[in-house]
Symmetry: C2
Subunit: 206 residues, 2 copies
DNA sequence: CGTTTTCGATACGATTAAGTTTCGCAACGT
DNA sequence: ACGTTGCGAAACTTAATCGTATCGAAAACG
């Protein structure tokens, strides 16, 4: 039919928007956030400079800084960990190996910091990140625990809220300490060590 | 000798600085930080307004915002938890009951948020808080664990770094979740629940 | 070609806050 | 009384950054 048919949607007249510019803007945003900026400090001018783009090009696409951040953070979604379901221990280790690996990526690490700190200042953004990134993973983890209780691999009287906090909090806290030290390399077996320690408990087996 | 002798140090001439103003400034700073401001957002003007004080009075005492925050945060030191040393379980519960109670105080909660987020931007401040507030408590906790291993109340093969992260991370994470919910009241026995759950482990006693 | 829209650059006005200075008054010692 | 210093209020300078507007060039279309 027509000479160019890449998109069916009737292309609006004029020069099309550059996909490269859009990606560069998103990348620059995530890079700057990953370097430790919070949303308040993140400046559109800095994003434009880093992306090699005019501010106009940003404001043509997003109404304001928050909208841009919402879009940028939503693209961080990494695939949910694939669990084999053979045993609870194996699933937990696999799950937290993904968490440990993700927590070595500055871009992903900054998400948690934003969620934990900017909840009041940017409720829309935080809520969207929570729905898109956090809740699905929480649900996967909770399902593993429930299944473990059902199969008898875990104690029947598990205090679910406490155990969720124990697993996530331990890994998160450990990785934070490890990150602040020079120990940038994530020790290979850390997920395994944490899961085994928590499964076994601190008290000696009587 | 002299008519007024409150301080031996030869009092410099002129009107003495108002201790009330100083305290009001510190209080205003901690209040504003406790309301969720980070250091960048904290404005000297807001502090002066809240404290009912002129900006001059602030700059006469502290060279800049960071120095003021260093002083203000250093005053948050609450006494180290007093441990009876009868049993490891009892000490851990007592220790974390203090942590839980402190984590309900906005002023104290903001310290952790600053330490975790502004480490790169304000290394002096964070380092001082770490030395003054965090390390002593870490050491108390580590001592309890080491003693427990020695007395046989804890497993001999404890993975100390992991266990430290497990205890602190679990309590911190649980309180954060609890805080974001409406559950502002800290459930009375939460420290006990967490300690017992971690001592017993997740696996059923074989 | 001519039209339309985007491109990056740059200038602009508005706002916010840091940190300094000035001012008139208050509090202290001598 | 007098000199010195602190006090709060206000004006000021400097600097960032937001979001908008304007510009000439470029990229698509017919």
């Amino acid at each position: 039919m027509s000479t160019t048919d890449e998109t069916r949607a009737a292309r609006p007249a004029g020069r099309p928007r550059s996909a490269r510019a859009e990606q560069a803007i998103i990348d620059a945003t995530l890079d700057l956030l990953g370097e430790g900026m919070n949303i308040a400090e993140l400046s559109i001018e800095a994003i434009a400079a880093r992306a090699g783009v005019g501010k106009t090009t940003i404001y043509r696409r997003w109404a304001n800084k928050e909208d841009l951040c919402v879009d940028a953070l939503a693209r961080l979604k990494s695939p949910l960990p694939e669990l084999r379901g053979e045993s609870v221990r194996e699933d937990l280790v696999a799950y937290f190996e993904v968490v440990v690996r993700d927590s070595c990526d500055a871009r992903r690490r900054c998400v948690m910091s934003i969620v934990m700190n900017d909840a009041e200042r940017h409720p829309r953004l935080v809520e969207r990140v929570r729905q898109a990134l956090i809740e699905p993973r929480r649900e996967v983890l909770a399902a593993v625990l429930r299944r473990g209780v059902a199969t008898g691999e875990l104690r029947a009287d598990l205090d679910l809220p406490v155990v969720m906090a124990a697993l996530i909090g331990t890994v998160t806290w450990y990785m934070r300490d490890a990150g602040s030290d020079g120990t940038a390399e994530s020790p290979a077996g850390i997920a395994e060590r944490i899961v085994d320690q928590l499964l076994a408990g601190l008290a000696p087996t009587a």
